[in-house]
Symmetry: C2
Subunit: 124 residues, 2 copies
Amino acid sequence: MKPPMTYDGRHLLADLYDCPVLDDVALVETALRDAAEQAGATVIGLHLHHFGEGQGVTGVALLAESHMSIHSWPEHGYAAVDIFLCGARHDPDAALQALVRHLAPARISRNMIRRGDLSGPPIE
Amino acid sequence: MKPPMTYDGRHLLADLYDCPVLDDVALVETALRDAAEQAGATVIGLHLHHFGEGQGVTGVALLAESHMSIHSWPEHGYAAVDIFLCGARHDPDAALQALVRHLAPARISRNMIRRGDLSGPPIE
């Protein structure tokens, strides 16, 4: 499996507030898989950890195009999301919309950061 | 294993340019383990993927305090790093310094982003 041909790194950080359910590892897994699919990204591996009954979940999807993660704090109704995709044909916002559909926050703060100023020619 | 007691989310994004060796999966693993140790973070899982001979490496460390990742593009000498740590006693810059020691970039661009405005009292 090869990484994408042209580097175009975009890193979307989003803070999701007032999410109703954040201690459900299956929900986090479903959200990550759906987000990858909606962004047209390829999942290399999906890794989840539940800190215990009623506690947070950490989920990271390794992608051919970089990664996505969710870290949740149910006691605050808060989830921290990051979506790092390289390749212009992949849309971090489509992934975020999928995560939002599953996690249902009342409020979102988002921050898109361009990653890597690669002055060389595109990789062929 | 419990997540840290007090939420204090800091997400450090760093672009590492002109790194001499970026297709070595063992180097990426060593860098991530050392970075976690230097930050006083607890590794829950370490996941690596090599895209092939002379090609990039993706490495993600799941931490009790969130995650760290390295994605490398050897053809550009470029590595994209993120270090997301919650808990005031953990120092993302100490982790970055460890990554820099291993990956030896000629130039770095860094961007520290505060994650999550949790207005409730600290978790006891």
